[in-house]
Symmetry: C2
Subunit: 335 residues, 2 copies
């Protein structure tokens, strides 16, 4: 790999001029410019990225910490991040934490030693460890899809309360009063917001929420499988079940069918996210669409603003949901 001095030798100018030619060509006399460009071409010179970043004291890199790469919803958020980052001149370091706090810590630390300029966190757990407290104070950071409770970090999220409420209203309109939930992770704020959306919609119609119908604690297919088994083993069973992610819904529908139930004739099951496959499931899933790409895109933009010291005054950015009605929910069965 050739360096700037090589170019100097060939073109007979100083490093300053070579640099100027490349960064501010308008300040260089055309003839000089040509000489330099010719030498650049001949040597195949490309400015050393490390040297440049080092000198400038900026990495133009952000870290994205994800709990799980296999969920298309997260990946769509990351698509949005990646797309935005590229447009803003940033690179994306992928940090698959697999839920391990130690790994999260490693990735988070990258923002402390100049490896990265900022951090996007797709989890709701923070600080990752006690030592990470300093992160929050010193590192541009933003939380997506979930809020970090009790900490003052900017975050971007769906109107989870409204979405859950709308889904519940949809079920009530279909005649359901016995509404169950297969929840996502209980430790998250998202869980609380969605739960209260459901309860609110029910209470607006004077329907009482039955706590026995609240099961599940995760986002996997198996959460749905087990959730349905659990709900269907109860003496009094819900006629409709809201799952907190489409993966859970897919597991739940599968499980319901295995128990001999017809969806939606015997039981209505709805989802969250509207991942692409939702429409190809049998029956196609009624769900809440999240603008995942836009959320990711907004996240980088806000993050880069923080990095550039133009932080948005607001801590919270909320995106609207969209209720997508398909075939996995239907009128309540007459009994």
């Amino acid at each position: 790999m050739s360096n700037i001095k090589e170019v100097c030798r060939l073109s007979g100018v100083s490093t300053a001029t070579v640099n100027r030619t490349l960064r501010h060509p308008e300040l260089v006399k055309p003839q000089t410019r040509e000489k330099v460009m010719k030498a650049v071409k001949e040597t195949g010179y490309r400015p050393n990225w490390m040297a440049t970043r080092f000198k400038r004291g900026k990495s133009n890199t952000i870290v994205v910490v994800v709990p799980n790469l296999l969920n298309p919803f997260f990946m769509q958020v990351i698509e949005g991040i990646e797309h935005g980052a590229r447009q803003l001149g940033y690179n994306v370091l992928l940090g698959d934490s697999a839920g391990d706090p130690e790994i999260e810590h490693q990735y988070a630390a990258m923002a402390l030693n100049g490896r990265a300029d900022g951090l996007i966190q797709l989890n709701h757990t923070f600080p990752f460890s006690a030592e990470d407290e300093e992160l929050g104070l010193n590192v541009p950071m933003i939380s997506v899809c979930d809020r970090i409770t009790d900490h003052k970090f900017p975050f971007i999220e769906l109107d989870n309360f409204g979405a859950a409420r709308a889904m519940t209203q949809h079920l009530i309109e279909l005649g359901h009063t016995k509404v169950g939930i297969i929840s996502g992770e209980r430790t998250s704020q998202v869980y609380l917001d969605r739960l209260s959306g459901v309860i609110r919609a029910l209470s607006e119609e004077d329907i009482l929420f039955n706590n026995d119908w609240l099961v599940g604690d995760g986002y996997s297919y198996n959460t749905g499988v087990e959730g349905i088994k659990q709900l269907m083993s109860l003496d009094s069973q819900p006629t409709a079940v809201i799952c907190f992610s489409d993966h859970v819904t897919i597991g739940a529908i599968h499980s319901a069918k295995e128990l001999g139930l017809k969806v939606p004739d015997d039981i209505s099951i709805s989802g969250f996210d509207d991942i692409t496959v939702a429409q190809y499931i049998d029956p196609p899933i009624t769900t809440i669409r999240q603008p995942a790409f836009d959320i990711g895109n907004k996240a980088v933009n806000n993050l880069v603003n923080i990095i550039d010291n133009n932080p948005s005054p607001r801590l919270r950015d909320v995106f609207p949901y969209e209720l997508i009605i398909r075939k996995s929910t239907g009128k309540v069965k007459e009994t």
Copy 2:
């Protein structure tokens, strides 16, 4: 952010000693070591990553170029890459090319200016552009899941020929002789390998492959939807269809059902990849399992060996498939 000099001041030693204490503690007198460590703690010193990498002339970073983040199969490969990279002390830069050669080129160029030490390519298109020819010569690079035809780059892939042959044999055992294909991208070597696996298995039983039954050119759900429509509009229709990815299979099953066909009673449909959702589809998909995580893991390991100048003598690494028989394939319908 404090630097090494700060630590020098506080501990009263030279930069050399501070550095040694951190990198080769055994060479430093215990008392000195303590002094230094105390100063490190007090200042919260972390060696500047950019400076270190710059000085060492190595980025410890690899770029992964993916055509599509929404396919769980790719993502599982990337999980394997990420996991292996972390263990080897490397970071992963995510390059979502979205199939755009210009973007691929941008990411590929990172390996030419010291931004990254190497490149893993999950596509089969290369060179991305004419200028990228130099990449192949100068940059540690490895191709995964697909082979770059006509270029001498190391690659890692499934035994696609064997897998397609095994799947076809499975269908033949079920009595099928009319076997159709909904193909993945036709420009890829994977396509050719799988196609010839199917044809071979058929010819071994003296069954002729009908070219009208070869449709499709992609990996999306919609490829499957359209593929089935196309096959079912023929005068003579296949009784079994092999899809080249599970996404395609999911679309195909959905489409078949919409046409009023029962799977597998009226038509058998099989897949490739064994992504997690395959088992939750109705009917659960008969498919070829690819050891995606291991493939990714192997890829980084090989790549890092190349980076370290210990390239494996072999250009090709093949992983074994596993035939997973579920319910989307069944005995041929008597007519």
